[in-house]
Amino acid sequence: MTAVVDPTDTTALPLTDLDAATAGRVLLPGSAEYDALATPWNVAVPCRPVAVLAATCAADVQAAVRFAGAHGLEVAVQATGHGAVPVPRPFLLVQTALLDELAIRPDATARVGAGVRWSRLLEAAAPSGLAGPAGSAPHVGVVGYLTGGGIGPVARTVGVGSDHVTAFDVVTGDGVLRRATATENPALFWGLRGGKGTLGIVTAVELQLQPLREVFGGCVFFAGEDAASVLHTWRAWTAGLPEQATSSVAVFRMPPLPGIPEPLAGTVTVALRFAWVGDPAQGEAALAPMLGAGRIVLGGMGVLPFAAIGAIHNDPVDPMPTLEASALLRELPVEAVDALLALAGPAAGCPQIMVELRHLGGAVGREPAVAGAFDQRDGQFALMAIGLAVPPVAAAVRAHGGALLDALAPWSTGGCLPNFAASADPAEVARKYGRDTLRRLATLAATYDPHGVLAAARPVRQACLAL
């Protein structure tokens, strides 16, 4: 089990051995299927693995991890391609989209394969009147979302997604398939709930579902000139909201492209997203003060089946090249809103497609009964900016993202959410976890990954060394 191959010379790798050992197919560079499977959702992230394994079962994943360990490769994983980061060393990509098992059990838990997206789970759970803690974009995979915590459109009511997980099946860096629950491999169970892919490749997750049929909510777009009024009103309004309400605001500059609604294309608008769990009439009453904050150009609110929760954010489904900047804010005083408006308001030369503030707190801030590696619970608001990572705007987007974080630094917790602004930069990874969490994650990486196979663990270990 030692690295016998020059890691820069991958032509000598006996990839046929891997192919022979797995049920899934091994795809090599040069084929269209390789390109289709290797290309992440964020097409700006380079991803050129030495091969892609389209895993069909946990044993395939084990074989890939062992093969990597034996040949000095790293392993990265993709299902839907969200959250991809560059891997600086030769690596094998494990594609888990085909791990698509899905079962809704009588005890209101679900068992979900690594390839399953939220939309499929929500549709399957809906007939039983159940739902899971989905994110704003239901086309994102369940497993990747839950290993990073998961803050969705009803987060203030249901809490962090990973708090609902009851078990993982995971292939750790030593190639062993392990089950992790509160009592079995508790350290892994801790680390997989927030630690993303640091400790292994999750092949299936089990989670507790909620009796949630529908929500009251939706999205309205205000005219860009009312941005200041909308944001300040929202700031004051969120302070008095009960946990039943989760909302966010976003300043949009959508490009004039086919498929973008006319009132939004090529102009500045401000979206208000709102979701209320409970009596819709009460939700409507709670929302009322916000609707007068500006001129509405598009959208509306109403009762939605939970499976349609993606309609609240309407996140883009198709792959695109993006750059993200993200931070958590302790508080949002008037000055913070002004600072944000100065950089993203209608008068600012802002290159971002979207600058968003999500209201957190409520159930997000509560520790679960069994602790996990998601530890960013003190943020009251999440800031995120998304811009296009294509020249010539890419440089401006990057610079503006930095300026935005600097401007809001006085109110920042210093942290950010693990699922936002994916990065392989140790300094960025270090923002996603507290010191103690980072230390234990790195210790567990050393424990369960003797050969340093998992690409996702590398920045965590580096961040730990630099603490």
Binding site: W190, R440, A442, T443, T447, Y448, G452, C464, L465, L467
Partner: protein, 1017 residues
């Protein structure tokens, strides 16, 4: 109206001091007071006040002063002034009882007569009254005046005689303790005074200390011989004989009161030898201002056990205030004694420096007191020394009120600071006043701990010495220069000096024309510069060498460095002393600067190159000489001379100093020298081999671990690991991890220090980076496993340790395998279900020949003690404890020794020897506290187990601070034992609901809760 001259001149009306004016006016009054009732010719007054070469015009000045004095001295009711003009001069006409000098003379005479008549009580009362009148040297504010000195010398002699009479009376009354204290003071104040020595020896003999009495005689004989080349007089020689014979008459000397037992034969009392000249007083000026501060300090000291911490910037007068307060205290308290020690600002000062002085002042031999006891256990060495010191102080304090003044604590070596910390924490039983002066500045961890411990004591006063106000500044200048300052100049001076009395004093000492011609200097520093530039260049040369040597400086060494001949050097030093730049060091051989700032100023005036060249020369001179601290000084000067000195030579010197410190059991100093050696190593012109550097780091880590400096160990290892990673030295990382494993005995290193987390992070982060070096990899994994032993998931340390063994086996390196096996056993330390496996691993370790085998044997026995105890093999456990103790003493492993003490206590408790167990626990706890090992409730837990066995659970105090983890469970158990069932049930429920990771106290907590539940039925 009362007139006081026994101390600074004071006139008091109805208890309120009267302002009698400036120095000259005071001098006029003083001259008259010394000859009260007699006419003093005007010429004599003028000569005394203005000197012999005065201009004729001063007669008018005298008249002005006299008329001023008459004004202030007139009693309100009476129109008559006590100053009477009576040709050819003036006369002071006051009743004899109004002058303290007269009262002293009268009472002293009464006392002396009573002694002759053997009326001991009358003698004691009169002598006590007489001595209580003294507030300081005669006319302390004028004591430099030539007309004061002869009178002062005579009076000092009278005072000594009176004290002798008091000692005699006290011995006669059987109050040996007070008598002994006084006799010792008298003797140490004047070591050449034969009668004082005689009385001291008799008092010692009567206190049942014949050996000390003989020692006092021998010391006196030695001093006489050294200083004067004389032999002791016949009376003392007779006394020696009487002591040796245990002469019964001596046991009852000076006999019972005459009225009851007449005819007791008195042994020959020596004639009073001629008084030697008075020592040069070290302070010429009485204190200006500071009334409130003095009151605060004296109040804090008044009950005899108070601690006072005086803080402030350099030159603010902390020392002066401390001395004045101590002086007042000792005047107010009969038979009081003040010991003053100072800490020099010098890296090369050997450890224990101030304590060494203190021991010497207490009349004991520092080498004997501070040496490591041969028979004591290794771990106990420091505490045995502490115990000796405490006993010495206790005995001295029992003899009479005692005050210890420690000056410039910020410069004290860490060994001394730690002792003072110990004293602050444990001195409740000793009636001992302590005054510390501490210069403002960042306090290191040791000093911080001392101050914290001192402040925690009830009744400790901390006082920031404030600057002088403008009025006081003016007064100070006037007193020193003898000339008045106008208010405007005083304001400017106060602002520019920040009211700092040292700078004000230096300003006042500038030559008159400098002061008159120039304005007040803009920068206070330039005051010092001007003072120094006024010196003869030859004097300055000597001072420069002295400043580089450090304080106190030995004239012999100074001679070697300056290459002057002895006489020449003595003259130059005298010149410097005349200018008040240097003075003879109190309590120690050698000289010192009158103030640290003067030394700083001298140093600041030398170029870096010259400083280094001087250091090099000092190092050479030190090498040639002898002395206990030769190695230390040589290393310090060579290091300071870098890069002029040969780094290789400096490295050798630092190593020698470190090894020397280790041999003297001073781990703190050893760690410091290893650290210096590392810095020097990094300056070698050609980089030395990594292994050698690692060995220095590891030696430093070992010394720090031995000194009980857990957090520092972790910090140093952390920094060194990072260095090694940056430089790509994987084997160094491994060696550091290996050293770390062995710093905490049989306990996991994660229990060390306050925060092991950063180092743990570093190890976790570095693990993959050393993957290509299997030896280092195994070592890092072992350290990481042990550091993770409290992970809530026990699989984590288990897997890590197992991998360490696996990697080490593959490497084929026996040392790596030993590290891995030791690491695995340490992760199982205290884990009951792994005890049997632990025994197997340790057997394997025992059979593996490797470099660290000796140390590992001790650790192995420590681990086996716990494992076998868990397995119920008590006999085996007892055997391992014995073997572990033997090894820990042989190899000097104090941490292991402390841990084994706990186990000894457990075994004693197991055998049912509860008293012995309690003693061992108490001892273990004291040792434990001196390490930085994790402690959280460990002693309380042990006591709880004991009281449980004794059925005395209800007697336990409530678990207080420091027991956070076990407090709730312990409280539940005690509450149940006290019979408060409802409250106990409530506490148990709350504790069961409290989430807590499983750590070493968890099983104890659960056992306590289970017992509590059982108790409640």
């Amino acid at each position: 109206m009362e007139y006081r001259v026994l101390g600074p001149l004071e006139v008091v009306r109805d208890g309120v001091p009267v302002d009698v004016g400036g120095p000259k006016q005071r001098a006029v009054l003083a001259v008259l007071l010394l000859d009260a009732g007699r006419v003093v010719p005007a010429d004599r007054i003028v000569d005394a006040v203005w000197g012999a070469d005065h201009p004729p015009s001063v007669m008018a000045g005298l008249q002005a002063y006299v008329s001023n004095l008459r004004r202030v001295l007139r009693d309100d009711g009476a129109a008559v002034s006590p100053i009477v003009r009576r040709p050819p001069g003036y006369l002071l006409d006051v009743p004899p009882g109004a002058i303290d000098l007269t009262r002293f003379a009268d009472d002293a005479a009464v006392a002396h007569a009573a002694v002759t008549e053997r009326d001991w009580s009358a003698a004691r009362d009169a002598a006590t009254r007489a001595l209580a009148l003294w507030r300081g040297p005669l006319l302390a504010d004028l004591q430099d005046e030539p007309w004061v000195q002869p009178v002062a010398t005579g009076l000092q002699e009278r005072r000594g005689e009176c004290t002798e009479d008091l000692v005699t009376a006290l011995l006669g009354l059987g109050d040996i303790t007070t008598g002994l204290g006084l006799a010792r003071d008298l003797h140490s104040a004047d070591p050449l005074r034969e009668r004082a020595c005689w009385l001291y020896a008799v008092a010692l003999y009567r206190a049942g200390r014949p050996a000390d009495a003989l020692a006092a005689y021998r010391e006196h004989a030695r001093v006489l011989d050294d200083e004067l080349g004389l032999e002791p007089g016949p009376a003392l020689r007779d006394l020696q004989g009487a002591i040796l014979r245990q002469d019964p008459e001596l046991s009852s000397w000076p006999g019972r009161p005459a009225a009851r037992v007449p005819g007791v034969v008195e042994p020959a009392v020596p004639e009073r030898p001629a008084p030697p000249p008075e020592p040069e007083p070290d302070t010429a000026d009485s204190l200006v201002g500071r009334r409130r501060e003095l009151a605060t300090v004296t109040a804090a000291l008044s009950d005899g056990g108070g601690w006072v911490i005086l803080t402030g910037p350099a030159g603010i007068g902390k020392t002066r205030l401390a001395q004045e307060a101590a002086g007042r205290w000792s005047r107010d308290v009969p038979a009081a004694r003040v010991l003053r020690v100072a800490c020099p600002d010098d890296e090369g000062v050997p450890d224990w420096w101030p304590v060494r002085q203190l021991v010497r002042e207490l009349g004991a031999d520092p080498d004997a007191v501070l040496s490591r006891p041969a028979a004591a256990g290794v771990d106990a060495a420091r505490f045995a020394v502490y115990e000796r010191l405490l006993a010495l102080l206790r005995a001295a304090a029992d003899d009479g009120p005692l005050l210890v003044l420690v000056d410039d604590v910020q410069w004290a070596d860490s060994t001394s600071v730690r002792f003072l910390t110990h004293l602050a924490g444990s001195a409740a039983a000793i009636r001992l006043g302590v005054v510390l002066t501490v210069r403002d500045g960042p306090a290191g961890p040791d000093l911080g701990a001392l101050l914290a411990a001192a402040v925690r004591r009830p009744g400790t006063r901390q006082l920031a010495v404030p600057p002088l106000d403008a009025g006081e500044v003016g007064e100070l200048v006037r007193r020193i220069s003898g000339e008045p300052v106008d208010r405007r100049d005083a304001d400017v001076l106060a602002a520019r000096t920040g009211g700092n009395p040292f700078f004000v004093g230096e300003y006042a000492r500038l030559p008159a024309e400098d002061r008159a011609g120039g304005s007040v200097p803009v920068a206070v520093r330039s005051v010092l510069g001007r003072r120094l530039s006024a010196l003869d260049p030859a004097v300055l040369q000597v001072l420069r060498a002295a400043a580089v040597i450090g304080e106190p400086f030995d004239p012999e060494l100074l001679r070697a460095v300056t290459r002057l001949d002895t006489d020449e050097l003595a003259d130059l030093l005298d010149d410097a002393a005349d200018e008040r730049i240097v003075q003879v060091s109190p309590g120690a051989a050698g000289w010192r600067f009158a103030h640290g700032l003067l030394r700083d100023e001298v140093l600041a005036g030398i170029s870096d190159v010259r400083v280094r060249r001087l250091h090099l020369r000092v190092a050479e001179a030190v090498s040639a000489g002898g002395g206990v601290d030769r190695l230390v000084r040589r290393a310090a000067h060579l290091t300071a001379a870098l890069p002029l000195a040969d780094p290789a030579e400096a490295l050798v010197a630092c190593r020698a100093a470190a090894v020397d410190a280790e041999q003297r059991w001073n781990s703190d100093a050893a760690a410091q020298w290893w650290g210096t050696a590392l810095r020097v190593f990094d300056q070698l012109p050609e980089a030395g081999p990594d292994r050698e550097r690692d060995e220095l780091v590891i030696a430093r880590v070992a010394a720090l671990a031995r000194a009980g400096r857990g957090q520092t160990v972790l910090d140093v290892v952390d920094a060194a690991v990072l260095d090694a990673v940056r430089a790509g030295r994987t084997s160094s990382v491994g060696r550091l991890a290996s050293a770390l494993l062995r710093t905490t005995g049989a306990w996991p290193w994660a229990v060390y220090g306050e925060d092991p987390a950063p180092l743990l992070s570093r190890l976790a982060g570095v693990e993959q980076l050393v993957g290509t070096d299997p030896v280092a990899h195994a070592q890092v994994l072992a350290a990481l496993a042990v550091g993770s032993c409290y992970d809530p998931d026990g699989t984590v340390p288990d897997l890590l340790a197992a991998r360490a063994v696996e990697v080490a086996e593959r490497s084929g390196d026996p040392d790596a395998l030993a590290d891995a096996l030791l690491g695995r056993a340490l992760t199982f330390s205290g884990v009951a279900e792994r005890a049997a496996e632990s025994v197997e691993i340790l057997e394997r370790l025992a059979g593996l020949p490797h470099r660290q085998q000796q140390v590992d044997d001790v650790l192995r026995h420590g681990l086996l003690t716990m494992a076998t105890l868990t397995l119920g093999r008590v006999e085996d456990a007892a055997r391992h404890v014995r073997q572990g103790i033997a090894g820990s003493e042989l190899l000097r492993l104090p941490v292991s020794r402390a841990q084994l003490r706990w186990t000894e206590g457990m075994l004693a408790q197991w055998r049912g020897e509860l008293g012995e167990a309690e003693r061992l626990y108490d001892h273990a706890y004291e040792l434990h506290q001196q390490t930085e090992l994790y402690r959280s409730g460990v002693h309380y837990l042990a006591m709880l187990a004991l009281r449980w066995d004794e059925g005395r659970l209800a007697e336990l105090p409530d678990p207080s601070r420091g027991n956070a983890e076990i407090a709730p469970a312990a409280l539940a158990l005690i509450t149940a034992a006290r019979g408060d069932g409802d409250r106990a049930a409530e506490l148990i429920r709350a504790e069961l609901d409290r989430p807590e990771p499983v750590v070493w106290t968890s099983h104890g907590r659960w056992a306590m809760l289970a017992h509590a539940v059982a108790d409640l039925g």
